[in-house]
């Protein structure tokens, strides 16, 4: 079962490649969308790795990232709207 959670995390990390291509290749608004996609998936990857490695302490990271995702996302879109 440990393997299932870790394998899912790896599969999700591979799924980030298309979003990385969007960030590298497309225009700025599309890149912000790609950034939001990656942030959302990374929260899940951290949950899956914490569960996969059976470390309770590691569950703090996805909670913090999920909270910070909101603030950082708003900062990005505000910058996109006004200055970029």
């Amino acid at each position: 079962m440990v393997l299932a959670f870790t394998a899912t995390a790896i599969a999700m990390l591979i799924s980030l490649i298309p979003a990385g291509i969007v960030i590298a290749r497309d225009d700025l608004p599309a890149a912000v969308v790609g950034y939001q996609f990656i942030t959302a998936v990374v929260v899940m990857v951290l949950v899956l790795l914490a569960q996969g490695f059976q470390r309770s302490g590691l569950f703090e990271l996805p909670v913090l990232l999920a909270l910070l995702m909101f603030g950082s996302g708003l900062v990005f879109v505000r910058a996109l709207e006004r200055w970029l």
């Binding site: 299932a4 799924s15 291509i21 969308v33 949950v47 569960q51 569950f59 909670v63 709207e81």
Partner: protein
């Protein structure tokens, strides 16, 4: 125990399928407005599936609680972020989001 494992595996598989298809959507859609639609499955549906997988595997436990907390933050933040992004792109293009 086996039923739990199978159930968790199915949920994890569905989560991977959701994220992979959303990822392809983000890559293949034409502009940022269209791409933004595909962030929602990855930000709302897949976390629910992952949280259910953890719940099925661990039961009601500390780890499940923290997973649900992260899920709750994402579920609340996701729609706000999508709306703010859409609005910012509109302001960037037209000068005012109401136009």
């Amino acid at each position: 125990m086996i039923a739990r494992d199978v159930c968790a595996d199915v949920l994890l598989g569905l989560a991977v399928l959701t994220v992979a298809s959303a990822s392809l959507g983000v890559l293949l859609m034409r502009d940022a407005y269209d791409k933004l639609h595909f962030v929602t499955p990855a930000a709302l549906v897949a976390p629910v599936l992952v949280a259910l997988a953890v719940l099925v595997q661990m039961g009601l436990y500390e780890n499940t609680g923290e997973t649900c907390l992260a899920l709750l933050a994402m579920v609340i933040a996701g729609p706000y972020l999508s709306h703010a992004t859409m609005r910012a792109i509109r302001v960037r293009e037209k000068g005012d989001w109401r136009q």
